[in-house]
Symmetry: C2
C-alpha cells in the first residue's frame, strides 16, 4: 500500500504520478469504509482527494499554509499529515475530529466548522506573513457551497487587493449541500462551459488572477496548475471542477443525500427506514398544508434543506413558495423581514449553530422593524457535537434582542399551536425553538392564546419549591420533582424572551425556592433573568444549564453530570437549599 509510506507531506513529494493516482484510490477506499462505519462528511471528502494530494505535492506545508473552508473536506489532508490511523484503524476512528484542529497537527491552522471562513482567515495569515517579512504561500480551499456566505464574499473582496501571494482554490463540484442557488453559481457554470475563457468572470471582476482546472480529479493537471501559481506575487483563484462523491456510485448520483451520511448507509440489505413522526415531520406537514391554503406562505432555508425534511418532494410541492438562499443566513433573515413587510408569511428554518451567522440582521432588519416572520430554530440544546457545531448559545443570542418573541414549546400540540399563531400574526418577529427531545403528545388540542405574551403555564401548583422547566427540560423538571418526593410546583415558562412578573410575584407568597432548568448556556440565558427578578427578595433561586464553554465531542451524559443536570444532583442541591 502506498499509504504505508505516507507519514507526512514530505512523503507525498517522493511519489511518482502513478503512485499518487494509486494513493488517491487508497485514500478513497479508506474514507468510504471509515465514514460508512462512523458516519460523517462523505461526498465532499471523496471529491477533494486528488486536489489534496496535489497541494501537498506542490506546496510545502506547514511553511506554506493551507486553510480548509468548513473543513469538512479535510479527511484526505488528515491522512497525508500523520493522522492516517484515524481512517485505517477502526479502533482509532474516533481519535481525530472531523474538522481541522491545530491541537492535532502543525498542518492545521484553525478549528473550522462553519462555512465561508477560509478566505478571511487565510488572508490574515498572509497579512501576518507580510508584516513579518516572511515568505511562503497561503492557500484557502473554499467551495462546496460555501462561496455564497457573506464572510467569504467580504473576504474575497479584500483578499483580491492584498498585493502579495494569496491562492484561493475554489472547489467547484456543481453542488452545495443541496443544489446551488445564487447568481454566482451561474458564473461558475459559464466559466466551466467556456474553459474559463468567458470574459465576465466573478473572480477577475474582484481583481484576482484566474486559472481553471476542468479536470479537478486529475492529479497531473492539478499539479501542473498548482506549480504554475506557486509563489504567485499576487492573489489568484484556481477554479477546480471536481466530482462530489467521486468513487462511490451512489454518492456521485445522489450528491445531496451523500453529502453527510449516517453509519452503514452503504451496507447492503439495510432495512428500509421506518417512518416515525417527529417534530421535523410534523413541521414539514404543517408547512405543506398551510402553504396550500395560503399562497403567501413561504418556507425559507439557507442551504441545509435536508435538516428540516425539505426534501425534493417538499420543494416540488411548494414551488415558488420555497426559497433556498444557499449558505447566506444574513440574507435569509433580512429577506424574510422584507417578505413579511410586503405582506407575505415567511417561515425561516435554521439550525441553532448557524443562527449565529445573522445577529445584526435579527436585530436591525428584523426586530427593529418588528417584522412578523416565523423562525424555526432546530437542534437548540446541549449536545455532544463538535466544538464547531454546538447549539448551546441560541437562547442568549436571540432572547436579548428587543421585540423578539422566542418560544420554547414542550409538546406537539403546543408546538403546532405556536406555529400556527406565529405564521398568521402580524405583530412580532417570532422564533420557536423546535424541541430536541422525542415527540411528546398530550392528545389534547392546545388552546393557548400566544398573543398574550410572557404568560407562563403552571403545570402543577404546590408550594415551597417551584421548578421552571424550559422547553426541552420540562421533562427534567418532572423527574426532579419525582426524585425530590415533595409536591413541587412545576412551571412551563413558554416564553424565553420575557418574565411573567405577575406569576413570579405570586410565587413569593408560598414558595421559598425557584429552580430554573434550561437546555443551553446559562450566561445571558433565561435563568439569570429569573435570578435578577428575585434579587431583591427572600426568594432563593437555583439556575441550571450549560457552562459558558466550547465543548468538543463530549458525551451528553458526561456534560449533564458536569453541569449538575442529573435529577439526582438537582434534587440534592434543592434539598440542601431548603433544609
Amino acid at each position: 500500500m502506498i499509504l504505508d509510506k505516507i507519514n507526512s507531506p514530505d512523503d507525498v513529494k517522493k511519489l511518482s504520478l502513478l503512485e499518487m493516482q494509486n494513493l488517491a484510490e487508497e485514500i478513497r477506499e479508506a474514507i468510504i469504509k471509515k465514514v460508512n462505519t462512523t458516519g460523517g462528511h462523505f461526498g465532499p471528502n471523496l471529491g477533494i482527494v486528488e486536489a489534496t494530494i496535489a497541494l501537498h505535492y506542490v506546496f510545502n506545508s506547514p511553511a506554506d499554509k493551507i486553510v480548509y473552508d468548513v473543513s469538512h473536506q479535510c479527511y484526505p489532508h488528515k491522512m497525508l499529515t500523520g493522522r492516517k490511523e484515524g481512517f485505517l484503524e477502526p479502533e482509532k476512528y474516533s481519535k481525530y475530529t472531523g474538522y481541522t484542529a491545530p491541537e492535532e497537527c502543525e498542518h492545521d491552522f484553525f478549528k473550522v466548522g462553519h462555512t465561508s471562513t477560509s478566505v478571511s482567515l487565510a488572508s490574515g495569515l498572509a497579512k501576518a506573513r507580510d508584516l513579518k517579512g516572511e515568505g511562503g504561500n497561503i492557500i484557502a480551499l473554499i467551495g462546496d457551497g460555501s462561496l455564497s456566505g457573506g464572510e467569504a464574499l467580504e473576504g474575497l473582496d479584500n483578499a483580491a487587493v492584498l498585493g502579495s501571494n494569496f491562492i484561493v482554490v475554489v472547489n467547484d463540484n456543481d453542488q452545495s449541500i443541496a443544489e446551488n442557488h445564487g447568481g454566482l453559481y451561474d458564473n461558475l457554470k459559464l466559466l466551466r462551459e467556456t474553459d474559463g475563457k468567458a470574459e465576465c468572470n466573478f473572480f477577475k471582476s474582484l481583481g484576482f488572477g484566474y486559472v481553471l482546472v476542468k479536470e479537478g480529479n486529475n492529479v497531473e493537471k492539478l499539479i501542473e496548475t498548482f506549480k504554475r501559481v506557486k509563489d504567485s506575487p499576487h492573489p489568484v483563484v484556481v477554479h477546480i471542477c471536481t466530482q462530489k462523491g467521486k468513487g462511490c456510485k451512489a454518492a456521485e448520483e445522489n450528491r445531496e443525500n451523500f453529502h453527510w451520511i449516517l453509519p452503514h448507509t452503504l451496507d447492503e440489505n439495510q432495512p428500509a427506514p421506518v417512518f416515525e413522526e417527529s417534530y421535523t415531520s410534523i413541521t414539514r406537514e404543517y408547512i405543506l398544508n398551510k402553504a396550500k391554503e395560503d399562497k403567501t406562505v413561504i418556507a425559507i432555508n439557507a442551504g441545509t434543506p435536508g435538516v428540516f425534511g425539505f426534501d425534493k418532494e417538499f420543494r416540488a410541492q411548494m414551488g415558488k413558495q420555497y426559497l433556498d438562499v444557499g449558505i447566506a443566513e444574513e440574507h435569509a433573515v433580512a429577506c424574510a423581514s422584507g417578505i413579511a413587510t410586503g405582506g407575505a408569511k415567511p417561515i425561516f428554518a435554521v439550525m441553532s449553530s448557524f443562527i449565529q451567522r445573522t445577529y445584526d440582521q435579527m436585530s436591525q432588519d428584523l426586530c427593529l422593524n418588528n417584522s412578523p416572520i416565523t423562525m424555526l430554530v432546530y437542534w437548540g440544546g446541549i449536545s455532544g457535537a463538535d466544538a464547531t457545531h454546538l447549539c448551546t448559545f441560541d437562547i442568549p443570542l436571540i432572547s436579548n434582542i428587543p421585540n423578539m418573541v422566542y418560544l420554547a414549546p414542550t409538546n406537539k400540540e403546543e408546538y403546532l399551536k405556536m406555529l400556527d399563531w406565529s405564521v398568521d400574526q402580524t405583530e412580532h418577529p417570532v422564533a420557536i425553538r423546535v424541541p430536541m427531545c422525542g415527540l411528546k403528545s398530550t392528545g389534547v388540542e392546545d388552546t393557548t392564546d400566544y398573543s398574550v405574551l410572557n404568560k407562563y403555564k403552571v403545570v402543577s401548583k404546590c408550594e415551597k419549591v417551584a421548578i421552571l422547566g424550559l422547553g426541552n427540560f420540562l421533562g427534567l423538571a418532572h423527574k426532579v420533582k419525582e426524585e425530590l418526593k415533595i409536591n413541587a410546583t412545576i412551571i412551563n415558562p413558554v416564553f424565553m424572551t420575557g418574565l411573567d412578573t405577575e406569576l413570579l410575584e405570586e410565587l413569593k407568597k408560598d414558595h421559598s425556592l425557584v429552580v430554573t432548568l434550561e437546555d443551553g448556556e446559562l450566561d445571558g440565558g433565561f435563568g439569570e433573568k429569573i435570578a435578577r427578578f428575585y434579587g431583591n427578595s427572600d426568594m432563593k433561586v437555583l439556575n441550571y444549564g450549560a457552562k459558558k464553554e466550547f465543548t468538543d465531542r463530549i458525551a451528553l451524559d458526561e456534560l449533564y453530570k458536569r453541569y449538575h443536570l442529573t435529577k439526582e444532583q438537582i434534587a440534592d442541591e434543592i434539598r440542601a437549599c431548603i433544609s
Copy 2:
C-alpha cells in the same frame, strides 16, 4: 420656490426638466442649511439629490417601492414625500429622524441605519409581490461604501436570480466614508472608465442586467435610464456615478470629512478646534508608538477610521501596519484572528453598534480558536442615539461568548495598561470597552496584572452594601455612595466576562446587599451573572442598567430616569432594600 408645490411624489411628476433642475438646487440649499445647523449626514445626501428626483419622477411610490441603504442618503427623499418642513423650518428640524422610518411616511418601508441591508430587504418585498401576484417595481438604492458588506453581497447573489422585476441602483461616488477598499471598487472604476463596456463586470457576473449612468447628477440622463429599466422583467443594476457632497465646495473637496458633519462646520470664522486629550487621542498615540517599536502591530478598522482618529496622518505613519477593510466587519474579525494566528498583533477598532455585524466570526473564527487579538469597542453605553445606532447591546453580545475576555476600564492608566497587556499577550481574544465618559486620570501608573483573569478591584472596602460600578458607571457608584451617606464598599469589576467568585463569596460575610451598575442592556448582561451567583444565598442583589428595548433619540437624562439610573433613585431603592 418649486419646493412650495411639492407635497408628494405626484407633484414631482408634474414638473418640467428645468423645474426639476431648479428643485435640485433648492433641495441642496435646504440640506446644506439644515445639516449645518443640526449636524448630520452631509455628503451622501448632497450627492443623491438628482437621482432621488428622477426616481420619484419615473416610479410611482409607494406602489413602486424604493429601499434606501444605510438610509443616511434619504433626506431628498424625505423632502419629496411630505416631510420638507423638517428641512425648511428650523423649529421642525428635529421632527424627523435622519433615516427612513415607516412610522413617518408610507413611502418608507424599513427603519434602516446599518449598511448593506437594502438589497436583501428589497428582495423580500419583491418576493412578497410575486407570491401575491402583484405588480410594481422594487428598487434598492445602495452604494456610498455599503456594497462591501457581507449582507449586501449575499443579497446581490440571491437577488440576481429572483427571476422577476428588481432594480438595484448603485450610487457610486468613488468613496466610502473614507476612501474605498476592496477589489470590487476597482471594478466600479473600470466600468466608469470604459463607459460601462468592460466585459468583466461584477454585476453581470452575478447575472444582473447592467446600465451605466455616468452623469449621475444629471436629472435628464437619470430619468431616461430609469424609464428604460422601469418594469424590467428581470433584475438589473443601474450604476450611477455621482459627486459626493455636490454643491458644497468644501464637501466636494474633502469627501471624507464631510460625510457627516457637526453643527456649524461650514460657518465662517469657526474657532479652531481645541485639542483635548481623550480616550480616542491616547489610543491613537499608543498605537502609533507601539507600531513603531513592533512592526507586527497592525491597526484594523471596517470603513469608519474617522471615529477612531485614524486620520490621514495616522494612516501615512502606519503604512502597511494599517488596514481598512471597508464595511466588512465579518472579514475584519476573521482576518484579525488569522493575523494573530500568523504571529502578528492585530488591534481592531469598532463601534459598539457595528460589532453586532460579526457575532459568528467572534464565536467561531476568533474565540473558538482563542486567537490573541485586541478589539477596541467604542461608544458602548446608553445613549440618545437613533434606534439604528444604539450602543447598548455589546455586553450581552460579546460577554457570553466562551474564551472572550471583555474588559471595562475606568480611567486612563487602567485603559493603557490593559491595552498594552492585551496587544502583547498570546493567550486570549481580548475586547476592551473604551470608556465613554471623559478622560479620567489617576496620575498613578496602573500595575495590575490583567493576565490574572476575573480579579475585581476593591476601590473602598466597607460593609453592608457593596456597589459594583462597571466601566463607565464606576463614577455613578461613587455618587450613589455619597448620596447614601453610608460607607458602602465600592468595587470596580474590570472583567465583564467572568466572576471573581472569591471576592463575591467574601462579601457574604459582612454585606447584605450587592448593587450592580452597568452602562448597557440588563438582559444577558453583567449584573444578571451576579444575581445568579447569589441566587442561593441570603445576599440581596439589585441590578441597574438599560431595559431591553430600542429607543429612538431619547435624551440621555430621560433614559437614566426611565431606567432608575439617577443617584437619587438608586440610593432610595438601596435604602428601601436594607431598611
